[in-house]
Subunit: 203 residues, 2 copies
């Protein structure tokens, strides 16, 4: 129940039921007209005004999204952990021990990432060998488009997707009988991408 002199709207169960039913049946972002109609309708069941309806849909939509996102993020984290393990278990040679540190998922603090970034900026090269022939399935038309750059990528970002992404790229030791290619690690942030994109498009 709602306190008598409450400072905020306390929807009645009927109002909530109707709002939820409307949401379920497709009303996600009612416009002003719809809000007025809904408000009028719901006022039968208790005190209510337009902004309450407006806020209700905003919040409900946002929190539904949030719920979904959390679920996906959890899945993603799990898959990342599994993939990392799988990935590093499959790696052939020792030089990766120190790298696995940076790639460690959540349990490890951000510090490692920053260290890696700093190290990379200082020119330190964390390189390793990886057979990329498996990734050569890019079709011909795309090869034309992409100019033949073939890359390997490892996500060092924290579970939060807004954190910087680290990409690894080949050092293009192209043509050669040895099927292994050396991959070089360097940090690439979203802003880097954006800048490059803008540069390419506008500059």
């Amino acid at each position: 129940m709602c306190p008598a002199g409450s400072s905020r709207w306390c929807p009645t169960p009927e109002q909530v039921m109707i709002l939820e039913e409307m949401y379920r049946s497709g009303v996600k972002t009612p416009n002003a007209t719809q809000i007025q109609q809904i408000t009028s309708h719901l006022s039968f069941y208790g005190k209510i005004e337009g902004k309450n309806v407006f806020y209700w849909f905003q919040n409900h939509k946002a929190r539904e999204r949030q719920k979904l996102r959390r679920k996906l993020t959890k899945q993603l984290q799990l898959q990342q952990q599994q993939l990392f393990h799988h990935f590093f278990d499959s790696l052939p040679s020792p030089p990766f021990q120190h790298l696995s540190y940076y790639n460690s998922p959540p349990p490890f603090p951000q510090v490692g990432v920053h260290d890696a970034a700093a190290a990379a900026k200082q020119g330190m090269n964390y390189t390793w060998k990886l057979d990329v022939s498996e990734r050569m399935d890019v079709d011909k038309s795309m090869m034309k488009i992409y100019g033949g750059d073939l890359l390997m990528m490892v996500d060092l970002s924290s579970p939060s997707l807004s954190s910087p992404c680290f990409f690894t790229t080949t050092t293009t030791t192209t043509t050669g009988p040895p099927p292994l290619k050396t991959l070089e690690l360097f940090p690439v942030t979203a802003s880097n991408l954006k800048e490059e994109c803008n540069k390419n498009n506008n500059g």
Copy 2:
């Protein structure tokens, strides 16, 4: 889920999340190199190739624009509906003066108003009720949100009298010094709402 022998790419939720995050953080038109990086990155989460990434960004950008265009169109239509205000010049205007958009001349004439006007003249009781003083407690944030057109919003869509769901207005026959100008709402169905919503959001 993607059919086993599907002829087209079915992005995993993780892939979609990452793509959307990249888009949101500024990558709108990745170049070949970026596409390759992204493709490699996303290949950790499922089968994917460069052209999928390429097409995804193309489509996403286009559809975002489309969405926005629709939103603007909808807004325009709403503003046009406000031509209805001209029918109510006799309404108590003072309280509304501070609503910036109220007195601004609507951009253009349109069909709906004439239809409604005709309907009204034919005696169809599309009357509506609006408690003026009730609406005055709309605060600044709502003004921003509604752009000032919280008032006098009228949906000109034809009412479906067979609908089980009727919206009613508050019959605020309050004992205020200023006799409230009240406008009656016509019934609106939930399906109408849904349709309009879908039309606005998806159609």
